[in-house]
């Protein structure tokens, strides 16, 4: 049972009676790259909020490596090894690229070791390597606010990896990117998938086709179906959920 990296049983989250997630079951093997799709309001972001401790389950249980996450707050969940990337890039705009990395990379995140400790050379090397991976070596001392949107997205993914999590949660990493940048981010995620477990939430179907091995479709707070990209694409229920609503607009 506990060899799953992420396991969600009968998860229900309700906000004042509105069930954002409804009896959701989900599990993931270590090393898997899973893409989650679903129409607006399907509960995708609440799903991530619940895993990262921002929202507590009303009913049900979220376990990470067999450990119930209910009693942990956001920073503790992060320390357990779950990293999250937000929909819009959330980086520290007034700091430089390097400083952004240094904050994420810090191994000892309590007050006094942050105050008195120096950045160890091992972390500096990690940062150097990551800068190359996300292609920001040249802009290392530039203020993050001056980076382009795509660079910000890559910086945030890099910061995630700097935390050295076991599970990466990535929310719409290619929203607002050009085709070329989308492909860059796609190959970056595929490269990361070699030694991390990753959950990607995405709308862009071309992008999903590029990276997906297994896709989960959420609808109205519960899992509609699960399978590889072709299966999901041809599933009549999925077509109805996605295309059915389009018909009404025409």
């Amino acid at each position: 049972m506990t060899d799953k990296i992420l396991e969600i049983d009968n998860l229900t989250v309700s906000f004042d009676g509105f069930k954002a997630l409804n009896n959701l079951n989900f599990s993931m093997d270590p090393g898997e790259l899973r893409v989650i799709i679903g129409p607006n309001g399907a509960g995708k972001t609440t799903f991530l909020d619940t895993i990262t401790g921002k929202v507590k389950p009303t009913i049900g249980k979220v376990s990470f490596k067999g450990q119930d996450l209910r009693k942990f707050s956001e920073y503790q969940v992060a320390l357990l090894g779950i990293g999250r990337k937000f929909q819009t890039p959330r980086i520290y705009l007034n700091l430089t690229t390097r400083e952004n990395f240094e904050i994420a990379c810090n191994r000892h995140k309590n007050v006094f070791s942050t105050l008195f400790g120096k950045v160890p050379s091992q972390e500096k090397q990690t940062i150097g390597g990551l800068l190359e991976t996300v292609g920001l070596t040249a802009k290392v001392d530039m203020q993050a606010a001056l980076l382009s949107h795509g660079e910000k997205q890559r910086l945030e993914i890099g910061m995630l990896v700097a935390q050295s999590p076991d599970l990466l949660l990535v929310d719409e990493p290619v929203a607002g990117l050009t085709d070329e940048e989308t492909e860059n981010v796609g190959s970056l995620l595929l490269a990361l998938a070699e030694n991390h477990s990753i959950v990607v939430i995405e709308h862009d179907m071309e992008f999903v086709r590029q990276i997906a091995k297994k896709v989960t479709v959420l609808h109205e707070g519960t899992v509609l179906c699960e399978g590889n990209f072709e299966e999901v694409q041809n599933d009549p229920r999925v077509i109805e959920v996605y295309l059915g609503s389009q018909d009404e607009h025409e």
Binding site: Y75, I91, A138
Partner: protein, 383 residues
């Protein structure tokens, strides 16, 4: 590697230069300024430099960490009262009562006054009482994730509580009149010119030390994390940090610094009263920082001096309109100079100077000259 060590050398040199400048300014203030400025003006300068310590305290939490405290007058007053209580007791025989207590019919020195007969205890209390209050208050507030406007309102509420307490306790703290009429400290007469010069010198030394402390706190990874908390606190949480501890530490230090400021101000003014816990005074502190420039330590000091000397000169000439002027100044800063004087100097001011000296104007954003990728291409092309 080469580049790294070069940068390190450069930053080391910059640090030395900064230490030199701070020491130089301090020495000029201590040794040279008193030759030209005496009496009332020198006393004013000393008092304003003491206030600058409080401005640094505000800048540390507001400018860098994003916590807008509108209640720092409380910590300022606690420091002031701590030293003033000692000054009341210093000239008296052990267990004798300060003058005002006799007037209200107190017969025995209250227990919490007794340790203040010791100078050492009082000097530590100046820092420790505000530190303790700030840390406890901070812990309760930050643990419950109270932020932004709600935090500011809470600090104001705390100010009112303390104001009413000190104002109402005639028997314990002489109520509205506050503590005044200081006679001796460590055997020296408080109002003596030489003693006042010692206070003046000490103020400058403490200001320089405060500057160094704030400089240390705001640079390095800790300082960057403070900025990160200011800009996006929940992101910091998802990066695995618990912001509460960081905020409590910074708020506590800031409170202690405000206490130090209050003590140095009190000994040079000769009075501490509940007026220092007036909300208006706490807001004034914020105005000094806003005028000088948030997130700039030099700006906080400069803003304090500019506003207070302006206030002192203007209120001598036109006592009635000073408040209008102060309000106007704040409006101007908020609308025209959102980053304060120093912020303006760093951006527009710098451009103007560059234009005067005929530097090229930057036409792209970010400028080609500043874009490292383009610079790198240039270098490889030239090879």
């Amino acid at each position: 590697m080469n580049l790294g060590s070069r940068l390190k050398g450069k930053s080391g040199k910059n640090l030395l230069l900064e230490v030199g400048i701070v020491a130089g300014v301090a020495l000029i203030l201590i040794l040279i300024v008193p030759l030209f400025v005496q009496g009332f003006r020198l006393n004013s300068l000393g008092r304003f430099l003491a206030l600058a310590i409080a401005a640094l305290a505000i800048d540390l939490i507001w400018g860098y960490t994003g916590l807008l405290s509108l209640g720092h007058g409380v910590f300022f007053a606690l420091g002031g009262y701590a030293i003033a209580m000692h000054l009341q007791l210093a000239p008296l025989a052990p267990r004798a009562l300060p003058e005002f207590m006799g007037l209200y019919g107190v017969t025995e020195l209250p227990f919490f006054w007794q340790p203040f007969a010791s100078f050492g205890f009082s000097a530590i209390a100046v820092l420790l009482f505000p530190l303790a209050l700030g840390s406890i208050l901070g812990y309760l507030v930050f643990r419950n994730r109270i932020r932004g406007v709600y935090f500011s309102i809470l600090t104001q509420a705390a100010t009112i509580v303390f104001f009413n307490f000190f104002n109402g306790q005639q028997k314990l703290f002489n109520g509205t009149n506050g503590l005044t009429n200081f006679k001796t400290i460590l055997g020296a007469s408080v109002s003596d010119t030489q003693t006042q010069y010692v206070f003046y010198t000490l103020t400058i030394v403490f200001l320089a030390a405060t500057y160094a402390l704030c400089r240390w706190l705001t640079s390095g990874r800790f300082g960057k994390l403070l900025v990160a908390i200011r800009d996006d606190e929940s992101r910091v949480r998802f990066s695995g940090y618990n912001p509460t501890g960081f905020k409590v530490l910074v708020f506590g230090i800031s409170a202690a610094l405000a206490g130090l400021s209050g003590a140095m101000f009190t000994v040079q003014t000769g009075l501490i009263s509940p007026k220092a816990m007036d909300i208006a005074f706490s807001i004034e502190m914020v105005i000094w920082v806003a005028v000088g420039g948030r997130a700039s330590l030099v700006g906080a000091i400069l803003g304090t001096l500019v506003v207070n000397f302006g206030k002192s000169l203007l209120s001598e000439q036109f006592p009635d309109i000073w408040l209008f002027f102060q309000g106007g100044l704040f409006l101007i800063v908020v609308t025209v100079l959102p980053d304060g004087l120093v912020g303006w100097l760093r951006t527009e001011g710098l451009f103007i100077v560059q234009r005067i000296f005929g530097a090229k104007e930057i036409a792209t954003y970010p400028s080609l000259e500043a874009n490292p990728e383009i610079q790198m291409e240039k270098e490889t092309l030239n090879k």
